[in-house]
Amino acid sequence: MKKIILFLIIPVVCFAQSNKSDEILNLVKENFNKIKDYQVNVHIKVDVNFIKVPEGDATIYFKQPDKIKLKSEGFAMLPKEGINFSPLNFLTGDYTSIFDKEENVDDNPCYLIKVIPLGDKSDLILTNLWVDKKQYIIRKIESTTKSNGTFIIELNYDKDIKYPLPSSMVFSFNVQKMEIPVGVMGDADEINKTEEEPRRKSKATSGKVYVNYSDYKINIGLPDNIFEKEEK
């Protein structure tokens, strides 16, 4: 009898968990969909192995559902996965989500939800989302990708926010192989030091990118042409 009950309960519980995670995610999506578009100034600091980039300023433009643009007067660089932290980014296509547990992120109680994309299309293998219990904003993302290793996005928000848009983000990552072509620049002291493929070196790269967001302009009706590819 116990076996039968267990047998009946487990799928129900699973279903319930699944249901619960979907519910949570839907609330997150709804929250985010309040934003039609936004424009924000960013200050970027890159702290990555083997790359030295000066701290820089740029502007990010976003328009639902997935238009995103980085603009800068000078040079600015953002990790691909970090430029667009819209939850929709992680929740497109077919996926399964599982409610794992409740866990705090910086003293903020969160739900930890696992998202597994189905099919082969997505680059993501597994994503862990920490969703704030009260505000249904994403506080942390941990994702494993097929091609680019693992990354973690930590999002910080101001106290009383109207929209789920962070004030700062820390993007941490670990890339197994980052090849640097040496030959083009002719690094004289190092050239031809390796046996094969003398023009490249494979390195494991890791690091963090710190982004501060300021001056959000939300739902201002951004035109589509901002997102067009620039004519050089």
Binding site: N49, F50, I51, K52, V53, P54, G56, A58, L70, K71, S72, G74, F75, A76, M77, L78, P79, K80, I83, S147, N148, F173, V175, M178, E179, I180, P181, V182, V184, M185, G186, D187, A188, D189, E190, I191, N192, K193, K201, K203, K232
Partner: protein, 279 residues
């Protein structure tokens, strides 16, 4: 002494061969710039390809600074050649023309004669490098504008903020003047030994090219002698494009190059002071 230097400079700049160097640079730099206009994006793409795998970036990386950097690297052999054209002729030219006789019978010391010639040669060298600097940066900035400078080393990629680049170029070109003065001094030394400028031009270039080849080859033995070749230190201008700048290595390179200049010039003085003028 100033009179002597002025006279030597006058003689140098009255010869058409002096202008070859300036002309060559005036042609090569625009040519490289236009080549970069056509192909630069592709090269940049190639350089940053793997960066692009993980990052999104914007900015004018194909700018005058990048082209100038590229020019500095490319002309490692060409500029020395242009230097030897004039430096190799400073003494040998007098022998060829037969003018040693009227020069050395003047009431001035041989030391003054040789010093004034060397200083004039150095001034030519400095002018040539400055001309390269002005052409590279000038034309580059006009065509491509300025921006951040991306430098790809085997130790990683460095992107310098646009206001952090110019002083580095000043340092690099300043260092290049020192490097090229070593070439001047060597050609000058050879020039004191022969009666025709061709000899010094060829022998100086031969030494530079052989040394560069030795530096580039993979053989263990060559690796050991590499620190003793002055050409190894001539490319130390790259140290300016590092973060942080390795000033210790830089000062070491400067000292070694300066030492070579002193050595070559010292040898020339010894030879010249005692030389029997038979031409």
């Amino acid at each position: 002494m100033i009179t002597l230097i002025n006279i030597e400079l006058y003689k140098i700049f009255k010869k058409w061969r002096t202008y070859i160097g300036f002309l060559v640079i005036a042609v090569i730099v625009p040519v490289i710039n236009f080549a970069m206009l056509a192909e630069g994006e592709k090269s940049l793409d190639f350089m940053t390809r793997n960066l692009q795998q993980s990052f999104v970036f914007v900015g004018n990386l194909l700018n005058g600074y990048l082209v100038s950097y590229f020019i500095l690297i490319s002309l490692a052999v060409h500029i020395p050649f242009l230097i030897t054209l004039v430096a190799g002729d400073l003494l040998a030219g007098e022998a060829t023309a037969g003018t040693y006789r009227i020069l050395i019978t003047r009431p001035v010391s041989r030391m003054n004669i040789i010093s004034s010639k060397f200083i004039a040669g150095f001034i030519y060298t400095a002018f040539l490098v400055l001309w390269l600097a002005i052409m590279s940066l000038g034309i580059g900035m006009i065509i491509f504008g300025v921006g951040e400078l991306i430098v790809v080393k085997s130790s990683g990629i460095i992107i310098f903020a646009r206001n952090d680049v110019f002083w580095r170029f000043l340092g690099a070109y300043g260092f290049a003047i020192l490097s090229m003065t070593v070439v001047t001094a060597l050609a000058f030394l050879f020039s004191s030994l022969v009666e025709n400028a061709i000899g010094p031009i060829i022998s100086t270039m031969a030494i530079i090219i052989v040394f560069l080849i030795v530096s580039a080859l993979q053989i263990n033995f060559f690796r050991k002698i590499e620190p003793y070749l002055f050409t190894t230190y001539m490319s130390s201008w790259r140290l300016f494009f590092d973060d942080p700048v390795d000033y210790a290595a830089l000062y070491k390179s400067i000292a070694i190059l300066a030492g070579h200049i002193a050595l070559f010039f010292g040898a020339t003085v010894l030879i010249f002071k005692r030389k029997d003028i038979l031409t």
